[in-house]
């Protein structure tokens, strides 16, 4: 078992999931509740990573994070070939899943409930916090798990922007690739089992969240 790769993968996934939570939720709320100019363009851009080859996502990220990009030129921050770049790449590929699930959940909250809250003296922000998000939370959590699971499995774009440096940027999927290349099949097998188990449990949780409440024995609220 490659422990440093496992720890790094957890670290990268945790940070990527935090980014997903904030960015996915903000985008989900805005695009579910407001008419935004260029709405379709924004949505297509969010969904692009779902269909683009990982190498293309990696290429765009190199442009966004590399020399000549605003964050290097203006803020003098170089993230390339660090684990931060791996976290950003993972967040980008996880975002469509988080966004889709969060937006659908927020859009399906009954408008009448939000109107009721308005007549009861709530500001729009308060309604979001006390009515909309609590009622959409199952979809938001499901999206977070899906996006997080996808982030954990990120391979191609990570390879291009973070490299494959053992102990520094080598996450589990990269370590598996290395182990197989070097014919260390036993080591690869352990890591394959871990990733598959995590993905299985994650998807099982999502299915549970998607089941209607009344079909469960104990109602989760």
């Amino acid at each position: 078992m490659n422990w440093s790769a496992l720890m790094l993968s957890l670290q990268v996934t945790l940070v990527a999931t935090s980014i997903l939570f904030v960015v996915g939720l903000v985008l989900g709320v805005f695009l579910a509740r407001f008419r935004v100019p260029g709405q379709i363009i924004i949505e297509v851009l969010i969904f692009l990573p779902l269909v683009l080859p990982p190498s293309v996502i990696g290429y765009f990220l190199l442009l966004a994070l590399g020399r000549g990009s605003p964050i290097v030129e203006w803020f003098h921050v170089n993230l390339l070939f660090s684990w931060y770049a791996a976290a950003i790449a993972s967040a980008v590929v996880g975002l469509p899943l988080m966004f889709q699930s969060a937006r659908t959940a927020i859009a399906s909250v009954d408008h009448m409930l939000e109107n009721a809250a308005r007549t009861l003296g709530s500001s729009e922000l308060e309604i979001l916090w006390r009515v909309t998000l609590p009622l959409a939370r199952r979809g938001v959590i499901a999206g977070l798990i899906l996006g997080g699971a996808r982030a954990l499995g990120e391979f191609g774009a990570t390879l291009m922007v973070a490299g494959n440096i053992p102990g520094q940027t080598q996450t589990l999927p990269l370590a598996i690739y290395d182990a197989v290349q070097a014919r260390r099949y036993e080591e690869a097998q352990m890591m394959v089992v871990v990733i598959t188990a995590v993905a299985f449990i994650g998807l099982w949780c999502v299915r549970q969240l998607e089941r209607p409440l009344h079909k469960r024995k104990t109602a989760l609220r």
Binding site: L113, N115, A116, R118, T119, R221
Partner: protein, 242 residues
């Protein structure tokens, strides 16, 4: 407390007709009576601040809820949350993730003694035993009691009810009508009660306004407007209301 008057004089172009409503309501129950799609709910929404009229004015004594720029002075559109108008919706619209008590306490958030005040309201609506149940664990009549208690929590001077008891059977309706008459008298509330049911209009309405195609056709006491109505239900309603 000084009795208030709610004055509504609005115009709104809707998909199928033009809404043009002029009403004045004091501390009484005014029934807006008419077929569905006549503009009754839209009128309530305009008063509550959930719909913006194209033109006109809505005032509660000195407080201007809405005034279009065509009228004297600058345009005003007070947001719903600042109007303090209680609204009871047809489909109850209780927050499904909150218990009955939490629903009633919703508007009292960050106010002192919210819990005690919400409990007192539940008691007034005979709901003390059900305080910790969630909406899906309550019957329709119980849900509507919670909705009324929730609307009263912020101590509104105006209470709007949109077909509030239409999904309930007649025995429960009768009891809720009695509760409503009692609440109105106690707090000197301005109540507007929307219904398409003539029996409802006769039971709770001090006055009624007949709405058709977006305009008010007639206003007056129910029995003045429909003197010829002699169905057994209405006769019984008339008899019990004295």
């Amino acid at each position: 407390m000084k009795p208030l008057r709610l004055k509504v004089n609005i115009e709104k172009r809707l998909d199928t007709f033009n809404l043009s409503v002029q009403i004045e309501v004091g501390a009484e129950i005014l029934v807006l009576f008419g077929p569905s799609g006549a503009g009754k709910t839209q009128t309530l929404n305009a008063i509550a601040g959930l719909m913006t009229p194209d033109a006109g004015e809505i005032t509660l004594d000195g407080t201007v809820f809405f005034r279009s720029s065509a009228n004297k002075g600058a345009a005003i559109n007070l947001p719903a949350r600042k109007r303090h108008v209680g609204y009871v919706f047809q489909q109850y619209a209780l927050f499904p993730h909150l218990s009955a008590l939490e629903n009633v306490a919703y508007a009292l958030w960050r106010q002192p003694h919210a819990q005690e005040r919400a409990e007192a309201l539940l008691e007034r609506m005979h709901l003390t035993e059900l305080a910790h149940r969630y909406p899906h664990e309550l019957s329709g009549g119980q849900q509507q009691r919670v909705a009324i208690a929730r609307a009263l929590a912020m101590e509104p001077r105006v209470l709007l009810l949109d077909e509030p008891f239409s999904a309930l059977d007649s025995e429960i309706r009768k009891r809720l009508h009695e509760d409503l008459l009692r609440l109105q008298a106690e707090a000197e509330l301005i109540v507007i009660y929307v219904t398409h049911n003539l029996e409802d209009a006769f039971t709770v309405g001090h006055r009624m306004a007949v709405v058709r195609n977006g305009t008010i056709e007639r206003t007056g006491a129910p029995r003045d407007i429909y003197p010829q109505t002699k169905t057994p239900l209405v006769m019984e309603a008339l008899a019990t209301s004295g």
